[in-house]
Amino acid sequence: MVKIVNQETSIPHLAERAPVVDVDVHEELRSVKELVPYLGEPWRSRVEIADGWKGVDRFPYSYPQISGVAMAEAATADGAPAGSSYELMREQLLDAYGVELAVLVSAFHPTDMRVQPEFATALASAYNDWLLENWLDKDERLRGSVTVAAQDPWEAAREIDRVGGDPRMVQVVLPASSREVFARSFYHPIFEAAVRNGLVVAFHQSNVTETAVGLPDYYIEWHTAISQAWQSQLIGLVCHGVFDKYPELRVTMIESSWTWVPSTMWRLDHNYRSLRREVPWVKRMPSSYIREQVRFTTQPMEYPEDAEHLYRMFEMIGSDEFLLFSTDYPHWDFDSPQHVFPSTFPKDLRRQILSDNARNFYDF
């Protein structure tokens, strides 16, 4: 094996000791069997039995990364999923980077199940109880996301009402689906329940998120192109009038990347000037809803050759509030709060992104 004697990077490093709020941290089940104590019958037995249910859809690609989906140091010796150990998360993220608040974003999405909707609803409920007991109860710095099974929106709304009142729950998480537009009126009970409980609605990719061409051959193609799923969800939220219907709704697009935001705003605004007649329930320019009611996360950060181009995105979007810091711990493309920002970002802006924007948007 080659020994690394000198680690260098062309990315400018800037020492940071500003407060950190991280809005994309992943807790993981060691196994779906961890949910057994939180399930009632008939579902409990179906998960508990020796060769029972194996989990929501599995990720289709083999990982070319050195430690699979995990950052190498977060991979566990016993093969348990990275992110399944609170102690390791505390050591590697919360303590190491002085994280004041970390929003846990579940990668467990019963919404992706295409069968047995009652089972999916029961799993979502069990997961939320597991999250509260095994994570949020352990550390005051942790905040949680309500997991739902969106295929039954009324049951999902009931689940949001059941656990969403816990002040540590700060959002409802939906998969950035490439199959279904969650802005359709069928799903509105979920948005209504989120608003009723003062929760953000967040979108994050799941194992079944696809690109505009479905599943391309290679992971690198998929990983580059999946932003299309968030774009479609965002465009849907505007065009289906969700922001008009729920003016208090707040939405976070997590891990979508964000450099596509200006061009999507421009294109949607331009189309609105031409096609407003089709959706007259949309009352304002689409970009104004996005600017006011939607936030995006830093990770995965992108690095144009001229870092100034990245900074100019803030001017293009017309806001310095739209971006929230995220690490994506414990995954392979983890971004460090100390080193992620290019030197073109002024110190005040870095501080705003690292902490203030999330505190204001989530009302932390």
């Binding site: 009038g241 000037r273 007649r277 007259p280």
Partner: protein
Amino acid sequence: MAVACLDDGSYKAVANTCPHEMASLANGRVEKMWVSDGVGHLRAAEEKCVIICPWHNFEFDLETGRSPCEPDRLRIATYRAELEEDEVVVYV
């Protein structure tokens, strides 16, 4: 200048040039403005007419000249037009 005759027999006159790409609005169409009382519901407004540009379909309120999308940013000039005996007179 583009002059429109509405269903009620009244006339409206606006600048003929769309501020977007200079198309002639007279080649477009006048219609009741589509409005909505809620998601999924469309209604042709009785009280509001728009002229639709033949290119890109930008709309302009015939009464105010303003775009319903960006009323403070996008507008065309409007002029008073009257039927006087058998002539349409536009006051500029």
